[in-house]
């Protein structure tokens, strides 16, 4: 409105001025001059007020900008993990196809093993799928459950434990059911293994993997060298036994692990562990002297020593393109007790060594050699049907795996398994392992 009036007057003036000059009427000129002055003043005040308003708007806009940025920063300072308030849930899907030259009557000649061991059934196999739920319970405890879904539709509780998180002096206490900290592979879940199956030494002496109901105490030394000491006391559920119904426990273990770096490209860990356990009615498949299959039952006392080492190499510690991992474990077991109805004692050992080489991004290949030494076995009166043998079971395995991401893996494994004296089992496995859900980092 104002603007229009101004414009009209200004235009009118522009035309009028020369005319007025020509008119040379001084009175008229004075009048016009006064009017012009007024217009100019008007105009200036208006410009001034506009400027102040503009300034005000600018400040407000600037504040809005700052507020907006603060809001985005705040928005991005959401909890670090999308699962921070919910448990980390992870589902491992795993399946195997096995083609083998021998049937599934697996046993290890000369070894009273026990537990769920061996290469499993032939053909398509669900393998072991796992469902894990883990989270901080509160500011003092962490807890988790890991269920193993077996091919026969049964569900097993692999782990269900609580663990302290804020005890002073780097002490952690774990209670419930958990994989024992002995050795190197024992604590690792099946989906992190580099081969389809566990080493023969683990199968023969630990029933594949030793998980127990009990309590664990661990302490990490405040040194630059990694030094971890641990002790466990538990029920003694080794190799699918029930453990004993008694006060106190039937299994105890002690372990120590040391580790460190050698330059930027190499890292290592080594350990020594001792386990003493008293299994009751530990059932193991065997072949008697007459050539018939039977199941032995052992009740007694086992003392197991384990020595383990692992060495990992990656150029500059960057394993994207290439890396190498060498690991080996030695297990010795002394047993004393009753086999079936008569006395039994044995001192046996075994070891494995394996190397896994990543030769391209996503691609790895590995070789493993397994060996058990028959050692000294005293079958007592069982010699009537169980023959003493000096046969040393062995196995060699080669694998190739492809992992398009850290969540998926497809593996081919060929093994020549001489666990049984009477027959060599040539095995071909094709396996997939996929993980859904929480991004579970893997232990060393």
């Amino acid at each position: 409105m104002y603007k229009r009036k101004f414009m009209a007057r200004a235009i009118a003036l522009a035309f009028l001025l020369p005319m007025a000059a020509q008119a040379n009427d001084s009175e008229e000129m004075e009048k016009l001059r006064a009017e012009l002055q007024q217009i100019k003043q008007n105009y200036e005040t208006r410009i001034q007020s506009l400027e102040t308003r503009l300034q005000q708007t600018e400040t407000v806009a600037g504040q809005a900008d700052k507020k907006a940025e603060a809001a985005t920063v705040q928005a991005s300072s959401r909890p670090a993990s999308s699962n921070a308030l919910n448990p980390d849930i992870s589902l491992i899907l795993s399946g195997t196809y096995a083609n083998r030259s021998q049937d599934s009557d697996f046993h290890i000649t000369g070894f009273q093993a026990g537990g769920e061991i061996g290469p499993g059934t032939r053909g398509f196999n669900l393998g072991e799928s796992e469902l894990g739920v883990y989270a901080n319970v509160d500011d003092k405890f962490y807890g988790g459950l890991n269920l193993a879904l077996a091919p026969d539709n049964s569900v097993g509780v692999e782990e269900a434990f609580i663990q302290t998180t804020s005890l002073p002096g780097a002490v952690t206490v774990k209670a419930g059911r958990f994989f024992s900290g002995i050795g190197y592979l024992n604590e690792q879940h099946a989906h992190t293994w580099d081969f389809v199956d566990n080493p023969l030494a683990y199968q023969a002496f630990l029933g594949n993997q030793f998980g127990d109901d009990g309590i664990q105490l661990k302490w990490l030394a405040p040194t630059d060298l990694f030094l971890e000491l641990g002790a466990e006391y538990g029920r003694g559920r080794i190799a699918d036994t029930e453990g004993r119904d008694k006060n106190g426990g039937s299994a105890g273990s002690l372990f120590a692990h040391v580790g460190g770096d050698l330059g930027v490209s190499n890292s290592w860990r080594a350990g020594l562990s001792y386990l003493e356990v008293s299994p009751k009615d530990r059932q193991s498949n065997d072949l008697d002297a007459a050539g018939t299959y039977l199941t032995n039952s052992f009740t007694g006392n086992s003392k197991v020593w384990l020595a383990d080492f692992v060495w990992k190499w990656a150029p500059n510690g960057n394993s994207t393109n290439t890396s190498f991992k060498l690991q080996g474990e030695y297990v010795h077991r002394n047993e004393d007790g009753t086999l079936n109805t008569d006395s039994y004692s044995a001192s046996q050992d075994g070891w494995y060594v394996q190397g896994v080489y990543k030769f391209l991004p996503y691609w790895r290949t590995g070789l493993r050699y397994d060996r058990l030494n028959s050692g000294n076995v005293d079958y007592g009166l069982n010699t009537a049907n169980l023959a003493n043998t000096d046969y040393d079971p062995k196995r060699i395995s080669w694998m190739l795996d492809y992992s398009p991401s850290e969540f998926s893996r497809i593996r081919l494994q060929l093994s020549s398994d001489k666990s049984r004296q009477e027959a060599t089992d040539n095995q071909v496995f094709i396996q997939y392992q996929m993980s859904l859900g929480a991004h579970g980092g893997h232990k060393y």
């Binding site: 940025e69 985005t72 920063v73 991005s76 300072s77 959401r78 670090a80 993990s81 999308s82 921070a84 500011d139 962490y142 663990q163 998180t165 804020s166 005890l167 002073p168 002096g169 780097a170 002490v171 952690t172 661990k218 302490w219 990490l220 030394a221 405040p222 040194t223 630059d224 060298l225 990694f226 030094l227 971890e228 692990h257 040391v258 580790g259 460190g260 770096d261 930027v264 890292s267 290592w268 860990r269 990992k312 990656a314 500059n316 510690g317 960057n318 394993s319 994207t320 393109n321 991004p361 996503y362 398009p404 991401s405 850290e406 969540f407 991004h439 980092g441 893997h442 232990k443 060393y444």
Partner: protein, 301 residues
């Protein structure tokens, strides 16, 4: 026997007890945060840096040496935004150090203090390695260091109250030098504005945002998935229609994919230090950006 027990106990006591005037032990997940802590903490801190510039921080082995170092730490300084999710939670659980657990003052995540870019609107692992909190490679924009250093100086003062004044004055000094440096870099880098670039990994959105670079393609088909020949051919075809001035990668990336593209598209391939130690010249935070900008400018000569 008694004296043996006594001496063992004494050794254990000496090993576990911190002497009162010891420097603050800081565990830095990445070299850039190690360097920043050093700038702010001077001789009042002992910094251990868990990774180096030639490693891919998404994939780090949870090595025993890292567990041992984390056990001693009074303060943990990491990027956050799930960059370290594959290994840091494992270390934290093994180290048994309650000072540095998530939510404690001893746990500092830099990503909390800057404006995050590329926050995904959907989360699906079919999209590759995406981070729910946004792209975690915040260290390629120096303005982010200004914000992080404000928060970090406060945190240092909170944890080590006795030296609060020391940290404050060092922070003030750093901020002044840093603001001057940012001005200098921005002047130098002015000619880069608006240039189209190709990146190997989506590691540079903050650098692009700062310098006004325009990302037209990535060599990785999905974040964290190694470049494939099919995808590289697609990128090459795309560049015929939409040319770019250079292809950028971080020091830890394999040079083969960007070399391949560089030769065929006839554009320079530039390796950026990405963090402190990523090149001969990038010895600290200042020389990191000096070198980054110099390398970019050299490429458009």
């Amino acid at each position: 026997m008694k004296s043996l027990i006594q001496s063992v106990l004494l050794t254990l006591f000496l090993m576990t007890s911190h002497s009162a005037n010891a420097a603050l032990n800081v565990f830095a997940c990445e070299p850039e945060w190690g360097a920043l802590v050093q700038e702010l903490g001077g001789d009042k801190v002992t910094v251990f840096t868990a990774t180096n510039a030639l490693q891919d921080v998404h994939h780090i082995e949870a090595k025993p040496s890292l567990v041992a170092q984390l056990r001693k730490a009074d303060l943990l300084v990491c990027t956050g935004s799930e960059l370290e999710i594959g290994w840091l939670p494992v270390l934290l659980r093994q180290a048994g150090n309650s000072n540095v657990l998530t939510g404690k003052p001893g746990n500092f995540e830099a990503a909390h203090y800057v404006r995050m870019l590329e926050i995904p609107s959907r989360l699906d692992r079919a999209d590759g390695d995406v981070h729910p909190g946004g792209n975690p490679h915040i260290q390629t924009d120096p303005r982010n260091f200004a914000k992080v250093s404000d928060a970090l100086a406060q945190r240092l003062a909170e944890i080590d109250a006795a030296n609060a004044g020391f940290y404050e004055s060092r922070h003030k000094d750093f901020s002044l030098r840093w603001q001057d440096a940012i001005k200098r870099w921005e002047t130098h880098a002015a000619p880069l504005k608006g240039f189209a670039i190709v990146v190997q990994h989506k590691g540079f959105p903050y650098l692009e945002d700062w310098l006004g670079l325009h990302e037209v393609a990535t060599l990785e088909p999905k974040p964290g998935v190694e470049p494939t020949s099919t995808h590289l051919a697609e990128v090459l075809a795309q560049l015929q229609k939409q040319p770019a001035r250079m292809v950028i990668r971080a020091a830890y990336n394999s040079d083969r994919p960007s070399q391949w593209l560089s030769e065929r598209a006839k554009i320079p391939s530039v390796s950026l230090p990405f963090t402190v130690g990523g090149s001969e010249r990038a010895k600290d935070l200042f020389s990191l950006f000096d070198d980054t900008i110099q390398r970019l400018l050299d490429a458009i000569k």
